[in-house]
């Protein structure tokens, strides 16, 4: 019994060591990213590695870490050795800037407010769009079931809330009470609030509940592809709110590890036509005009407003809308 067990352990160990032998590489950076970007960067990274090899003659390994971006920011503050961050929340990079990990003026370090791509809350409806859902108004109608996650736990749903609110404000000439009533009538049409975007997707696509799923436009393409046999259709409303995907060099780590140069090249690469094309193929909107024209079919015209314009910035939104007892609490009664 005893010796056999030991042999088995040794064999497992040997097998594992064989598998884990690291690839030899001259440069290595760690890209700490949000939870659902794995396949996107799995597509982007080899292209960059090739380019870096061609430009400098050095090989580069790009390691990826994916989790909720607030959790990632916290981990970096506690020592996760990120060289670059690619997040889906501006506020999470601000946290890093406050903690001294990222340059204070990080938004000026790269074009387009350091956001190489962006998206917006959009809709996914059932085959043939039987309930004729084209815009936010249609979501407030009686008899329409709307699916999005709980805005208390999901950043994705907060964008949905803000987009609906901004639309109603615009329509009612800035009347706050009317906007709140409008958002409340949409919330009343939600049969179940899931924890996060993925669970809401499962509710809509796998359990077949609801007439419309609201999530980032960048997500709707992937979901439609994943559940191809359901023939879900993408719908972009007339107006929505800008959701940025900001990037930054984690200067503190990059300088001590001597990776600042490759980190900068990596983030610059995200703005190059090759990278912008990959981003657009994955249904992210990009600032590059030529690429946008190339994928015009993926990106219907939409009027985008920003959190700064409509709500006076994230701090104010947090305080007025999302804080305990804020406006969100008055329109959202969790069933």
């Amino acid at each position: 019994m005893k010796p056999r067990l030991t042999t088995a352990l040794a064999a497992t160990l040997a097998l594992g060591l064989g598998l884990s032998s690291p690839a030899a590489a001259q440069d290595a950076i760690l890209n700490v990213s949000y939870d659902i970007a794995r396949e996107l960067f799995a597509e982007l990274n080899p292209v960059f590695a090739q380019k870096w090899q061609a430009d400098t003659g050095r090989s580069v390994t790009i390691d990826q870490s994916h989790a909720g971006s607030s959790k990632q920011a916290r981990a970096i503050l506690e020592g996760l050795p990120a060289d670059v961050v690619t997040f889906n929340q501006v506020t999470d990079i601000d946290v890093l800037a406050e903690g001294g990990m990222v340059d204070e003026n990080w938004r000026e370090a790269f074009p387009n407010g350091a956001s190489p791509y962006y998206s917006l809350p959009a809709f996914l409806v059932r085959e043939g769009n039987p309930k004729n859902i084209d815009d936010w108004d249609d979501l407030a109608q009686d008899g329409v079931q709307v699916i999005f996650p709980n805005p208390k736990t999901s950043g994705n749903a907060r964008y949905t809330y803000l987009a609906a609110y901004a639309y109603a404000l615009d329509k009612n000439n800035g009347d706050q009470a009317a906007a709140q009533a409008f958002v409340k009538s949409i919330f009343d049409n939600v049969p179940v609030f899931d924890q996060g975007g993925r669970a809401a997707t499962a509710t809509f696509a796998e359990r077949g509940i609801g007439d419309v799923l609201i999530t980032f436009e960048a997500e709707t393409g992937g979901i439609a592809r994943q559940y191809a046999d359901a023939d879900l259709e993408r719908v972009t409303p007339s107006m929505s709110i800008l959701a940025e995907f900001p990037v930054a060099i984690v200067t503190e780590n990059a300088e001590s590890k001597g990776t600042a140069e490759v980190a900068k090249a990596y983030l610059d690469f995200l703005y190059s036509p090759e990278a912008q094309r990959i981003l657009a193929q994955n249904f992210n909107r990009v600032p590059d005009e030529a690429i946008t024209a190339e994928f015009a079919g993926n990106f219907p015209e939409v009027r985008l407003v920003t959190v700064e314009e409509v709500f006076g910035g994230w701090d104010k939104v947090q305080e007025e809308h999302f804080a305990e007892g804020g406006i969100l609490d008055s329109v959202f009664v969790n069933q």
Binding site: G16, I36, R38
Partner: protein, 275 residues
């Protein structure tokens, strides 16, 4: 028909049947169906796709890392568990009850709290963080951190299994061995260990199962770097978040298979322990 008419027999016969039916239904809905469903979904696009998902470098590395963590934590758990059980069973000393409570503490606190404690203690902004950074020692977001939190959550198992047995058996045999001139090591090898071996193995199996499956605590300290610090449970979540359902279920089925093997070992051990 006869049974129907004799009123007194009815409740006595139907209640147990009803309860059995309820138990079977619950077991099926809560345990069996999800387990079968995992395997079914993992294989839904054919065995080739399943194998390809399992053999994806990141998933393979996650399997290896999870195995490594289990292999490192097991001997530590065995040694510390036996030592603690022996200390508590054979000696009376001030603080004995407190020590027992301390050993059981990881059972009662949520693993995520363990993870956060480690973060606050060993993190860059934590109590020991600056000193560790000075000494160039990496604990968090690397193997040491993962092993340490896994040890934290698995530490009570061996002691919990071995201690009651040691207490029940008493120390007569060990004392007899000592009077016959055995050394401490001989007593341990020839008397103590054979007496507790099944309980020890049982504890080891439980601790290993927990080490392999631990999610919450590891999730906090791992940093989830793919191909480096992503354990199998974290990999399952990652693949699921990617809408890679087959990949997620393939990874999950690997975990399930490990769990089933552990379960079979446990059942065998229980059988042996009773005889």
């Amino acid at each position: 028909m006869n049974a129907m008419t004799s009123g007194s027999a009815r409740p006595g016969r139907h209640v147990p049947l009803l309860l059995i039916a309820l138990a079977i239904t619950l077991t099926a809905v809560v345990v069996a169906v999800p387990l079968v469903y995992i395997l079914w979904r993992a294989l839904s696009e054919g065995f080739a796709v399943f194998a390809q998902n399992i053999l994806a470098p990141d998933t393979l590395h996650a399997i290896w890392l999870t195995t490594l963590v289990a292999v490192i934590t097991l001997p530590v758990n065995l040694a510390v568990g036996i030592a603690a059980a022996w200390l508590i069973a054979r000696f009376t000393f001030p603080g004995r009850k407190a020590l027992l409570t301390l050993i059981e503490l990881p059972f009662s606190i949520s693993p995520i709290i363990a993870g956060v404690c480690y973060l606050l203690l060993y993190g860059r902004q934590g109590l020991l963080g600056p000193a560790l950074a000075e000494a160039d020692v990496t604990v968090l977001f690397a193997l040491p951190g993962i092993v340490m939190v896994t040890l934290f959550v698995t530490s009570p198992f061996v002691t919990r299994e071995v201690l009651p047995l040691m207490q029940a058996q008493g120390s007569e045999q060990e004392q007899a061995a000592l009077t016959l001139g055995a050394t401490g090591w001989q007593v341990f090898r020839r008397v103590t260990l054979p007496n507790i071996r099944w309980a020890l193995l049982y504890g080891a199996v439980l601790a290993t199962a927990r080490a392999v499956g631990e999610f919450g605590a590891v999730s906090v300290v791992s940093g989830a770097i793919r191909g480096q610090t992503n354990t199998l449970p974290l990999q399952v979540e990652l693949l699921f978040n990617d809408l890679n359902t087959v990949g997620a279920f393939a990874a999950a089925s690997t975990l399930t298979v490990i769990a089933l093997i552990v379960l079979v070992v446990k059942t065998l051990v229980e059988g042996r322990a009773r005889t």
